[in-house]
Assembly symmetry: C2
Homo-oligomer: 293 residues x 2
């Protein structure tokens, strides 16, 4: 695909909007606060228009949940979300109407998984899972060149979880499931128990050990169901110094030697750094999902 | 594919061997006890030879774990298993040498998932997961016409699990993970706690409620990761009267209304009945994995 590609990384606190091309150059980018759909989306469109209106495609990697059923009248809309103003918001439609070119939209984590598999930490493997651990927890996976989907996109933060013995009193912060992975290990669950982010707690605070253990238990479930060659851990919580190493050690213990592969190779940080979100949108726009290599 | 197809459902206690064809007829079948590889496999070959040696293909749906890496010298072998005599056993090789025709081999549950998606309870969907709950617990899934795989085939019995509050004392029976799904809810784990199979315990025995709850928690994890349109529950434990209905009720509770679809449509018994194993082998032999429809 030649020409300019409009890129949108639609997040719960900010939209990152950029202009890219098929050579993976990000020519320009900006940040727009996520306020209300009727403010944020037109601001993104205005910025893109200021960089030309001859886009060959639009790629959107968005927070969710999203309706991604091509047969649905609500394709490209957010479904129901706890985020005020955004339940039912049409994300894809305004960009389609503004630029009259093909639109690709998927979840931010599906985009990141695809980009990491194509160009990042998952390159050369047959299977890559990307998990973000931040304000929420979400995941996407690419198997054999395909982003996996069933009735809808994955919601990997909502898997069932065992309870760490030193964390028995906490009910969990997920409004749907209480103590699912997100309810136990995302940023708000950390703050609810310990009054701070993980990186603000002393390195010997038990929270580090407990969160690492939860992520390791989740990794075991991902391995048991998908056996990914790479499980890439991104997001704000994973910026905590030392956490990745603790997760690797705990994941080796949790696996009990049962799964093939070396945990230290499988569990890995993102390879694309801060551009993973926009590159996810680019990978989606380039339609690289079913193209191997 | 015209002609006869040799079918092997290789289980831990019995091999079911049959002759089929592309019209899904099973022309003949037999049962051979699983003893040692050097007895059981030649017995299967002898029986197949007695029905002719002009096979167009061989399909094998086997217990595992299996090495399914086409580049591995141990392709088609069992890897390590707790089952005496079978660690390292070459399953595919003897059939390949005996019949000199193409061989397809995969796990029994991958075969069952493929057959159920093609011809059974998953027909017409984009995503089907098959879980067997018996002496062990294993699962396979077909997404968009593809059996999913990563570094190896899934080992769905080994996901991490929460603990039912009325089951706190049991350490779990999995030699690798203790209280993974298989360690809590497979037949031996039921017998270890309650001294009987679930179907031999009175309908008001708490074991029914506890096992249904564990399967529901597992279903939530399968939904969160794969969002299957069908989650098919087979295996001996699922023959327990009333269990499927209890699982459905518990799965609706566990999901908290978060996932799309109706639990009573998603969670379902097998559609292929007693032939699922041989039809799994047939689906593998017909190379139907990537063929939609």
């Amino acid at each position: 695909m030649d020409g300019k590609i409009a890129l949108i990384e639609a997040g719960g606190t900010k939209f990152i909007v950029g202009v890219g091309d098929s050579s993976r150059q990000i020519r320009a980018r900006t940040r727009i606060d996520t306020t209300r759909p009727e403010e944020t989306i037109p601001a993104a469109i205005d910025w893109l228009r200021a960089h030309g209106d001859d886009y060959a495609a639009v790629g959107i990697a968005s927070f969710g949940p999203l309706d991604l059923d091509p047969a649905s009248p609500d394709w490209g809309h957010v479904t129901r979300t706890a985020k005020p103003h955004w339940s039912g918001a049409d994300i894809a439609g305004p960009f389609a109407r503004a630029f009259g070119c093909p639109i690709a939209i998927d979840t931010d984590v599906n985009g990141a998984a695809l980009a990491e598999w194509l160009w990042g930490a998952g390159a050369g493997t047959n299977s890559t899972l990307y998990l973000t651990v931040g304000t929420g927890i979400g995941g996407g996976a690419v198997l054999g060149g395909h982003v996996i989907r069933g009735l809808s996109h994955p919601e990997m933060g909502h898997i069932s979880m065992p309870r760490h013995p030193d964390d028995a009193g906490f009910t969990g912060s997920c409004p749907f499931h209480g103590d699912c992975l997100e309810g136990l290990a995302a940023g708000p669950a950390i703050a609810a128990r310990w009054g701070a982010s993980l990186s603000d707690l002393a390195p010997d605070h038990p929270a580090h050990r407990i969160i690492a253990w939860y992520l390791a238990q989740a990794i075991r479930s991902f391995q048991a169901i998908l056996q990914p060659a790479r499980i890439i851990l991104g997001g704000g919580v994973m910026q905590t110094p030392g956490l990745l190493d603790q997760v690797r050690i705990a994941a080796r213990d949790a696996g009990g030697g049962y799964f093939p592969g070396e945990v230290s190779e499988i569990v890995t940080p993102p390879g694309l750094g801060g551009d993973a979100g926009l590159l996810g949108a680019l990978a989606l726009a380039l339609g690289r999902e079913r193209t191997i290599g």
